[in-house]
């Protein structure tokens, strides 16, 4: 294995992420996954939208596209269809991918285009200063929900399964080795793969909800994965939910995997399909 730092644009550092933010751990796990697959950097396109997680693409020495808010799956669709030999990976956040860009995300999943989407879910809008996101749990505090969020939150993986994603997984930033393993599985999957990474935002989500710093949040996160000693399908992540109507948590691990015809756009005869 090479040093994953070879994949970084060190000249672009220092990065914009806050101390304690787990997005860096996620990036490292991703670079390990790239390394393990021995992907040619010239053939790896990384596409992002707007937000903290989307800024990661600036620091990796691949072909990188930092697009517009929520639209990364659409940019990625154009890249992949125009140049199918590219490995195309989208990095998005929970606001980017599930609010303003949810439409593009579900349609990319429906088409089963052969790209991988990493959705880094930190339960809040970080870059704009801690506003509530579609993933902010009911009851949680954000700058726009000072009395606690009154809206229900998305389960991103259920949404993507409903949209037809052929590979869906959820991993925790607190489990970096597991994260790399699942990313390799997702990236080698033929068709659309969606991986939600439960990340953290100590600066806003953690501070607003009294969860401590980055290390505290990761420790907390690791402890919120339940059912790990039972069958794999029973593994769940139970978020920070102060209310008594807490849902039973969200499944973790590889939740969905199926083979479906892969979308390549309407080319000449016979190119649409597996």
């Amino acid at each position: 294995m090479t040093d994953v730092r070879d994949h970084l644009r060190e000249w672009a550092m220092p990065h914009v992420l806050c101390p304690g933010c787990a997005h860096g751990i996620v990036l490292r796990s991703f670079l390990e996954a790239v390394d393990e697959q021995e992907i040619d950097r010239n053939r790896l396109a990384m596409v992002a939208g707007i937000g903290c997680s989307s800024r990661l693409v600036g620091y990796v020495d691949f072909c990188t596209l930092h697009g517009t808010h929520g639209r990364a799956p659409a940019f990625a669709t154009g890249l992949k269809m125009a140049r199918p030999e590219l490995h195309v990976v989208v990095v998005t956040g929970d606001g980017d991918g599930l609010a303003i860009g949810a439409n593009h995300l579900i349609h990319a999943a429906r088409r089963n285009i052969d790209i991988t989407v990493l959705l880094l879910n930190n339960s809040i809008y970080g870059m704009t200063g801690g506003q509530a996101a579609p993933t902010t749990p009911t009851g949680a505090v954000a700058s726009t929900t000072p009395g606690g969020n009154t809206e229900p939150n998305f389960d991103a993986c259920k949404l993507l399964i409903g949209a037809g994603a052929s590979f869906v997984a959820r991993v925790l930033a607190a489990n970096p080795i597991e994260m790399t393993r699942v990313m390799v599985e997702g990236m080698t999957h033929s068709g659309f793969s969606f991986i939600e990474v439960v990340s953290d935002c100590p600066e806003y989500y953690g501070r607003y909800n009294g969860m401590g710093g980055g290390a505290d949040m990761l420790t907390w996160m690791a402890g919120r994965e339940v059912g790990v000693t039972g069958p794999l399908s029973s593994k769940r992540f139970v978020n920070h939910v102060p209310s008594s109507t807490a849902p039973p948590g969200m499944a973790t691990g590889i939740i969905q995997r199926e083979e479906r015809p892969v979308f390549t756009g309407v080319h000449g005869e016979g190119s649409h399909g597996p």
């Binding site: 930092h66 154009g78 125009a82």
Partner: protein, 378 residues
């Protein structure tokens, strides 16, 4: 005339795009532009291209930009409501300097407006629709044959200057079938490509003409593309010097080459006392009106820009200096008339003939307006 075919404006757009080497189309259905998508999916695959119908117009242009970054000559087509949604990515393509062609077949607006009626209500949106300070290249054909020619030109300008180019015409031109003869081949210009060492490549370092060489993703150059203000490395910066240099350069690369971009038709201006300023479908009415008014002994001519933006201030100003009255005819409530006033700078009287009810401005309307303009003058 040999080889003439009855061709619809929207089909001429598709033929022009294919002649210009278009090999990627993404779009979303909308009247009165849908024929472009329907013909693209028929012809593009055989031409080695890719077609995809997207979930909306925002995604359509994002997909086109992605394809262009991967080396394709890419386009989309829409009408007013979709053009509004595309503004976000017209801005992105301008900032990131990604060649692409956007066709707007104008219908009555605002909002859903008059879906099957003609309008010229989007000509200022085509200039200023996206936020921020930016250049625009906008071409406006007035016949089916010109739709073909200007579609080719739109691709060539997009590639030449690494910028989005808008082709704008109204519902009548889009749906009219006219006898045309297409050329066997056209001149095709491709984006400048780098040939240096990828390890020292600066993606936004421009030569004197202001247009940086552009590799495609996958060509062996690894670089960063962003809509944020960036430096020559393509990396975000908030440094005022770098920010100013970037925004100036993306303007100058267009405005410094205006003579390469601007195309104008003039008719009988030599001795004219009145000139009609018209574009697109109204240019056809103006042409006819000039011929009829001349028969009646009125000294009238016409100036018709095929390039709406950058606006031909110089050429319109010269006409203003020569005539007594400029009659501006457009199918909106007064959009380019403001630019004509700026160009004229008081050197001629400006009279508007404006209409925004979904009906065309006819030659008869303009002959009456010319007579009226003459009466006002005396």
């Amino acid at each position: 005339m040999s080889g003439a075919k009855l061709v619809q404006g929207n089909e001429a757009c598709v033929r022009g795009a294919l002649a210009a080497g278009c090999n990627f189309y993404a779009g979303y259905p909308i009247t009165p532009s849908s024929e472009i998508a329907e013909l693209m999916v028929r012809f593009l695959p055989d031409a080695g291209g890719v077609f995809v119908q997207m979930e909306d117009e925002i995604a359509s242009l994002a997909t086109v930009i992605g394809a262009s970054l991967a080396g394709s000559r890419a386009m989309t087509a829409t009408s007013g409501p979709g053009f509004s949604l595309m503004q976000e990515h017209i801005g992105f393509a301008t900032m990131a300097e990604v060649p692409c062609v956007v066709v707007n077949v104008m219908r009555g607006g605002p909002s859903t407006g008059l879906p099957t009626s003609p309008s010229q209500g989007d000509v200022m949106q085509a200039r200023w629709g996206t936020h921020g300070d930016h250049p625009s290249i906008v071409l406006a054909p007035s016949s089916v044959g010109e739709v073909f020619n200007l579609t080719v030109k739109a691709f060539n300008l997009a590639e030449r200057f690494r910028t989005p180019v808008t082709l704008i015409y109204d519902e009548i031109i889009g749906h009219t079938r006219e006898s045309v003869v297409f050329p066997d081949s056209v001149d095709v210009i491709s984006r400048p490509r780098p040939n240096g060492d990828p390890s020292t490549f600066l993606p936004k370092a421009a030569p004197p003409d202001g247009v940086p060489p552009m590799p495609a993703f996958g060509d062996g150059y690894r670089f960063h593309v962003t809509g944020l203000t960036h430096d020559e490395r393509g990396f975000p910066t908030t440094d005022p010097g770098q920010a100013g240099a970037l925004i100036t350069r993306i303007h100058d690369k267009v405005t410094n080459h205006q003579e390469e971009i601007t195309e104008i038709e003039t008719l009988m201006l030599d001795d004219a006392e009145i000139a009609i300023f018209a574009y697109g479908i109204v240019g056809r009415s103006a042409h006819e009106a000039v011929l009829r008014a001349r028969e009646a002994g009125i000294r009238v001519g016409m100036i018709r820009p095929l390039t709406l933006w950058p606006f031909p201030y110089h050429q319109v100003g010269e006409v203003a200096a020569q005539v007594d009255t400029l009659l501006v005819a457009e199918m909106n409530l007064g959009q380019l008339i403001g630019e004509v006033e700026r160009a004229a700078a008081g050197r001629s009287e400006i009279v508007g003939h404006l209409r925004a009810d979904g009906e065309p401005i006819t030659p008869t309307d303009l002959v009456a307006a010319i007579s009226g303009a003459g009466a006002v003058r005396t």
